[in-house]
């Protein structure tokens, strides 16, 4: 009787041990769930839906994609953080969570997740309507200094790209504009086309087609050198050399799992996404949208995330746009 019991217990133990050891070897045994932190049709959504079929080929299982938007991504990070750390729930996200702490939106940011892959980052440009007289960022800033508050800047709310680029520039040179918030870069640019705002810092990917069609003109590229895609457009550092210390800066897209996921599972996911992101079709699509491929993971990605957070959070804090000091969360000053 006892013998049987012990035997049974031992078998059970071996099963448990074997199953832990074989987690990695067998991963993935079932379909994964991919949580997209922005809604259908947005930039993050498009990136997620483009990379996923490539990765599914590598993993041999489906990644079922689910949009969980809301709270500029806080709903998604909270959800993924609440799931098991087994690698079956991956987070497709953008840069937003890195500001959630200082904006008091959430206690969770990318330090709680492991970067499986930071796929690409975008480049910001400052665009204006063809009807506006300015031909360079310098002229715009000079005009804004002459009539403070009269020029309208399209933005996407606190922590959004236009807001951050505007604040970065303000920390370099002093000027005052009225910021009119829109629901996203798309609606903001639409308002710019209709002349309801006067200029807007935006991701190149969102503005590229309008620039190509000659409906919007670019005043500056938020980069330290000219872009091959935008020949003849001055980098922001030409007029404002002080901006260089913030560069490179831009929105980014990536894939995360919970930090305490088993290493072997992480390695499998990293390999799958690394391979998927090399697909020519994916690269073509990303570059076509004005993004710069990164395809980095692990420590390299963590360093990138940390630098991004430190620059952005502190500049916003100094511009008075945060609710808590970055120092409260141990975010070091750049």
């Amino acid at each position: 009787m006892i013998k049987q019991y012990v035997l049974g217990a031992m078998t059970a133990l071996t099963v448990v041990a074997a199953s832990t050891a074989s987690i990695a070897a067998e991963f993935p045994k079932k379909d994964l769930q991919g949580i997209i932190m922005w809604g259908a049709g947005g930039a993050t959504d498009t990136v997620a839906r483009a990379i996923t079929p490539m990765v599914e080929k590598q993993l041999g299982k489906d990644v079922v994609l689910v949009n969980k938007s809301g709270g500029t991504g806080a709903i998604s990070t909270a959800y993924v953080a609440s799931r098991k750390s087994d690698g079956y729930t991956v987070l497709y996200g953008a840069e937003n969570p890195q500001l959630h702490k200082v904006l008091n939106l959430s206690k969770i940011d990318y330090t709680d997740f492991y970067p499986v892959n930071i796929l690409a980052h975008g480049i910001a440009v400052i665009v204006t309507n063809n009807d506006q007289p300015w031909n360079s960022l310098k002229e715009l800033v000079a005009d804004a200094q002459k009539r403070p508050g009269e020029i309208k800047m399209g933005s996407t709310g606190p922590g959004g790209l236009p807001h951050v680029v505007g604040s970065l520039l303000q920390s370099v040179t002093d000027y005052e504009v009225t910021s009119v918030p829109y629901g996203g870069e798309g609606p903001g640019l639409t308002a710019l086309l209709g002349g309801h705002v006067d200029f807007m810092p935006a991701g190149l990917s969102a503005a590229a087609e309008h620039i190509k069609a000659g409906r919007l003109k670019v005043l500056a590229v938020v980069n330290d050198s000219e872009l091959s895609a935008l020949k003849g457009v001055a980098p922001i550092t030409k007029d404002f050399p002080g901006f260089k210390k913030y560069l490179p800066w831009g929105p980014f897209y990536g894939v995360w799992v919970k930090r305490d996921t088993p290493d072997a599972v992480k390695a499998k996911l990293v390999a799958a996404y690394k391979e998927g992101a090399k697909s020519p079709k994916f690269i073509k699509m990303m570059q076509g949208r004005g993004n710069i491929m990164m395809n980095i993971s692990g420590d390299e990605a963590d360093a990138f995330l940390k630098k991004w957070q430190s620059i952005t959070a502190w500049v916003l804090h100094e511009a008075g746009a945060t609710k808590s000091s970055p120092a409260d969360f141990g975010i070091s000053k750049p």
Binding site: G41, G71, K152
Partner: protein, 500 residues
């Protein structure tokens, strides 16, 4: 293959593309008719699904789903009072009373034909005047969106039922529900009580399924013993004479639909509500009183929401700006297929434009066919005993709500709204204004604030712009007229004039 006509007929002549469009439309009709399955969702799923396909095949399938899905919502709106797609909300107001009278068959028939006419008008405007309309749509400033939303919210007056105070209460409650969550402009929490789950806000489909579907299902529990209403099924396809009578209204509301659809900030849901409002004001002698099963109340929103499909494509194909949530997903799909939707799309790939127009037209035809067939089976489902129907509605409502954003909290909200909605209904409050508030409240909120920020917080400048800008002045005048025309004084005056 250089001319537009050959691209237009590409989906008609290629048997495979024809099949794809048909399959898409068929799926769309049923996706639209199941609570919680939205067209946006279906098209998003199709993006990954059709990733490796040829662009045209993928587009044909997705166009079909879109066209069919917008129409499909009308079925459950009529039969069960559950508008499964937001654009079907106005359809339920008069459609459900028709089903209660046993005229669901006729109602679905008329709704289908009117959707077809609406779709047709939408596509024609898209084909003929797309660049013009999209340039005009760009001129709409935040204050103009505010004016449009205010014109829409006036509908509370006509949806109030027995008492205006009750209608206003319900409408304002809807506005509050729409405000819950992070403010889109400042990321400030509103009614969130510092809870992460509240930050995401309440999706309007959650409110819709709760206030309509669940509240109705609970009310049905009072009538478990009463046998289901026998629906007359002799004739689904409406007589030509019937169709003819409603054509003028259908065309008028279709134009409302195309334009509201083409505005980048508004879609089929608002179009349908505005069209319903228009019908209620312009039709002097409806077939029955509005709200009690007026055919006109069905014709207007159904024409408008399908016309809005063509409308939503106008800014998308000409400028790369989505006209609604579904076309936003389409833009993503085009990117993934290596195209660059934007102002250059029509210059670089003109065939895409004509191909889409052709596929839309084809999908519209299939929608008519699938809409008029298979209705009997669908209606039979509704005729099954209430004791079976009620649990099934509840299960679908739960799964449907969960499916919106995979969040069980939404399900709790939905049930809460359902129980609350049950009491509202019993005590003579209409739930229509709640949904009106949920849909239009956020639009009013952000548009008003954007407009006032643009004038640097000067209320005087804000009011001045309302009358000096041509578009705003026109909309303001329309608003004033609509308000004045409801006053007893004006009514007395027109009556006197008519009698003279």
């Amino acid at each position: 293959m250089e001319n537009p006509i050959s691209y237009f007929f590409m989906s008609w002549s290629d048997p495979y593309l024809l099949l794809m469009t048909a399959a898409g439309t068929f799926a769309g009709v049923y996706v639209g008719a199941i609570p919680g399955l939205s067209v946006t969702m279906a098209v998003s799923i199709l993006i990954s699904f059709t990733f490796s396909w040829d662009t045209n095949e993928a587009l044909a399938l997705m166009v079909g789903v879109y066209m069919g899905g917008v129409y499909g919502g009308s079925r459950t709106a009529i039969l069960l009072n559950i508008p499964c797609a937001p654009s079907a909300i106005a359809t339920a107001i008069d459609g459900y009373p028709l089903a209660k009278r046993g005229e669901a068959g006729t109602a679905i028939g008329v709704a289908t034909v009117m959707s077809f006419i609406g779709g047709l008008v939408g596509i024609l405007v898209l084909a003929v005047a797309a660049p013009l309309v999209s340039e005009f749509a760009l001129m709409f400033a935040p204050r103009d969106y505010l004016l449009l939303a205010v014109i829409g919210i006036l509908l509370v007056g006509s949806l109030s039922g027995e008492s205006l105070a009750k209608g206003v209460f319900a409408g304002a409650l809807g506005v509050i529900i729409g405000m819950v969550g992070l403010d889109p402009l400042t990321a400030e929490g509103r009614f969130t009580f510092d809870s992460i789950t509240m930050m995401g806000g309440i999706h309007y489909v959650t409110a819709m399924i709760g206030f309509f579907g669940v509240a109705e299902a609970l009310a049905q529990l009072h009538h478990l013993e009463t046998p289901a209403i026998k629906q007359k099924l002799e004739r689904i396809t409406p007589k030509w004479s019937v169709v003819k009578r409603y054509i003028p209204l259908s065309i008028r509301t279709s134009f409302i639909g195309v334009f509201i659809g083409a505005l980048p900030g508004t879609g089929g849901d608002i179009a349908a509500l505005m069209a319903y409002d228009h019908a209620k004001r312009s039709v002097k002698d409806p077939s029955r009183k509005f709200g009690e099963g007026a055919m006109e109340g069905l014709v207007a929103p159904e024409s408008a929401n399908n016309a809005a499909v063509g409308g939503a494509y106008i800014p998308m194909l000409t400028l790369g700006i989505p006209g609604d949530a579904v076309t936003a997903v389409f833009i993503g799909a085009l990117y993934i297929h290596g195209l660059n939707p934007g102002p250059m799309l029509m210059i670089e790939t003109p065939h895409l434009f004509w191909f889409t127009v052709g596929a839309l037209m084809l999908a519209n035809v299939f929608m008519l066919i699938f809409g008029l067939t298979g209705v009997r089976l669908f209606i039979k489902l509704v005729e099954c005993p209430r004791a079976i129907l009620v649990p099934l509605i509840l299960i679908l409502s739960v799964v449907g709500t969960y499916a919106i954003q995979n969040n069980v909290v939404d399900v709790y909200w939905m049930l809460g709204f359902g129980i609350f909605g049950y009491f509202l209904k019993i005590y003579g409050y209409q739930v229509g204004p709640v949904i009106l508030g949920v849909i239009l409240g956020p639009l009013m909120d952000v548009s008003y604030r954007r407009a006032i920020i643009s004038t640097r917080e000067s209320f005087g400048d804000f009011m001045l712009e309302m009358v000096t800008n041509p578009i705003s002045a026109l909309l303001s005048a329309a608003l004033v007229f609509l308000v004045v025309s409801q006053t007893p004084m004006y009514k007395r005056w027109t009556n006197k004039r008519r009698s003279v």
